[in-house]
C-alpha cells in the first residue's frame, strides 16, 4: 500500500532518526512512503481559533496533494499529525472555515477527503501488529520499555480518535510485538511542557521530570516517543534512562537499523 508521507521540519534536521528508521521499517512491512513534494512546515501547533486560516494552509496543501494521488496521508511526528488531522477535521466540520480555506486553493477545492494516519495507526490498522511481530528478527527480549504518548498523539480525542486517551495501548501493543515488556505508568499521557521550554524552562523541567520519575518508578529502563519535542524535553531536563524514537527500536527489531544499502 502507498501513503503520501509528510515528514515535517524537524525530521529533516534534529530528528533525522525518527524519519530514517520510519522509512526503513515501512519498507520491510511492504508499505511505500511517497514523500509529498514541496511540503511546507505544519507550524507545530494547531490553533483552535476558527478565524485562524493562513496558518493552516500548509496542512491543507499537503492534504490536497495526497487527495490528488488518491492516497492516505501519514506522518510520524506527533505534532505534524496533530496539526494536519485537526486541520482536516476543521474543514470537514466547519463550513465557513472550509470556504475561507478554499479561496486560497487553485483549481479543485479541498473538502477534507484525505484519510489521515499516524505511523503508529498505519502499523496497527494497515500492516497489523501481528505482521510486525512476524517480521521481527531481533526480538527485544527482557527490555522494559515505557511508551510516552504526551498530549499531541491522543488529544483532543474527539478529533484524533487514535486510542482511549486515558488508557491507550497502541504503543504498548507495538512494544509487545517487538518482543519487549511494556511498562504502564500514570504520566504517559501527561504533557512534557512542550514549547514552554522555549520561554519557561522551569515549567518544562517540572513536567518532564515528573514523566521520567514516574516511568522509572514503574520499572522502565527506556522510554519511547514519537515526538521530537518530548524527546528533547525529557533528555534536556535530566532523564537518566535512554529516551528514543519508537521508529529506532522498530528498525532494530526488524533488523534494518544498520543501512544495508550503503
Amino acid at each position: 500500500m502507498k501513503f503520501s508521507y509528510f515528514p515535517g521540519c524537524t525530521l529533516k534536521n534534529k530528528a533525522k532518526d525518527l524519519d530514517i528508521y520510519a522509512r526503513r521499517s515501512a519498507e520491510v512491512l511492504g508499505i511505500t512512503l511517497e514523500e509529498i513534494e514541496n511540503w511546507q512546515c505544519c507550524g507545530g501547533v494547531f490553533s483552535t481559533a476558527k478565524d485562524e486560516v493562513a496558518t493552516k494552509l500548509s496542512s491543507v496543501r499537503a492534504l490536497k496533494e495526497a487527495k490528488s494521488k488518491d492516497q492516505p496521508l501519514v506522518s510520524v511526528c506527533s505534532a505534524c499529525h496533530n496539526v494536519i488531522k485537526q486541520t482536516n477535521h476543521a474543514i470537514q466540520t466547519d463550513k465557513e472555515f472550509a470556504d475561507k480555506v478554499n479561496r486560497y486553493m487553485a483549481e479543485e477545492p479541498y473538502n477534507g477527503e484525505t484519510q489521515v494516519y499516524h505511523y503508529l495507526e498505519m502499523l496497527r490498522d494497515v500492516a497489523g501488529f501481528d505482521a510486525v511481530k512476524a517480521k521481527v528478527v531481533n526480538p527485544l527480549k527482557g527490555k522494559k520499555i515505557a511508551a510516552y504518548y504526551g498530549c499531541l498523539l491522543l488529544r483532543p480525542n474527539s478529533v484524533m480518535k487514535m486510542d482511549d486517551p486515558e488508557n491507550p495501548k497502541i504503543m504498548e501493543d507495538l512494544i509487545k510485538a517487538m518482543g519487549a515488556d511494556a511498562v504502564v505508568y500514570a504520566n504517559r499521557n501527561e504533557c512534557c511542557g512542550g514549547y514552554v521550554s522555549f520561554e519557561s524552562p522551569e515549567l518544562a523541567k517540572k513536567k518532564s521530570l515528573a514523566v521520567v520519575e514516574n516511568a522509572k518508578a514503574a520499572g522502565a529502563e527506556m522510554i519511547i516517543t514519537a515526538c521530537p519535542l518530548c524527546k528533547y524535553n525529557l533528555i534536556k531536563n535530566g532523564a537518566d534512562i535512554p529516551v528514543v524514537y519508537f521508529t529506532e527500536l522498530l528498525a532494530e527489531a526488524l533488523g534494518v537499523k544498520e543501512d544495508t544499502n550503503e
Binding site: 490553533s47 481559533a49 485562524e52 488529544r155 486517551p165 522555549f198 528533547y232
Partner: protein, 128 residues
C-alpha cells in the same frame, strides 16, 4: 473596551459556549500548568462569560497554557476551556507591536539539540 463586544469576539473566535459550564473545576484540576497560572482554566470560562476579558489579556497565564488539550478532553460538559485561552491570547498578540517573541530573541534561546518543532511552535503561540 466594551465588555459585551469583547465577550462576543471571544465566543466567535473559539466557538465555545461558557454557559454549558457546571463549575466542577475539573479543567483546572487536570491542568499541568495550574501552579504557574494567575487565572486558571475554570476562571477563563467564568470571566469570559461575564465579559471580564481585559484582566485576562494582561495576564501571564496566557503564555503558561501548554495547549495539551487535557482540559478540552476531560471536561464533562465539553466546554473546552483551552479554546478560550487561545482566543484571548490571539486577541492580544494580533495587536500591533504585541508580539511576545521576536525573531531577534531566538538565537539566544537556542541550544544544539533544540528541535525545530520547539521554535516554530513557540512562534505560533507567542507571535503573529
Amino acid at each position: 473596551m466594551n465588555k459585551e463586544y469583547l465577550r462576543d469576539e471571544m465566543l466567535r473566535m473559539s466557538g465555545v459556549n461558557p454557559k454549558k459550564c457546571m463549575k466542577c473545576g475539573k479543567c483546572s484540576a487536570t491542568c499541568p500548568a495550574y501552579d504557574e497560572m494567575e487565572y486558571h482554566p475554570h476562571q477563563f470560562v467564568s470571566m469570559v462569560e461575564k465579559g471580564d476579558i481585559e484582566p485576562l489579556m494582561k495576564s501571564e497565564s496566557l503564555y503558561r497554557c501548554l495547549t495539551c488539550f487535557a482540559c478540552v478532553d476531560r471536561c464533562p460538559r465539553g466546554v473546552e476551556p483551552a479554546k478560550l485561552i487561545e482566543a484571548v491570547r490571539l486577541s492580544v498578540i494580533r495587536q500591533q507591536g504585541a508580539n511576545r517573541l521576536k525573531a531577534d530573541d531566538v538565537p539566544a534561546k537556542l541550544d544544539d539539540d533544540m528541535p525545530q518543532q520547539a521554535i516554530v511552535s513557540a512562534f505560533r503561540k507567542y507571535s503573529k
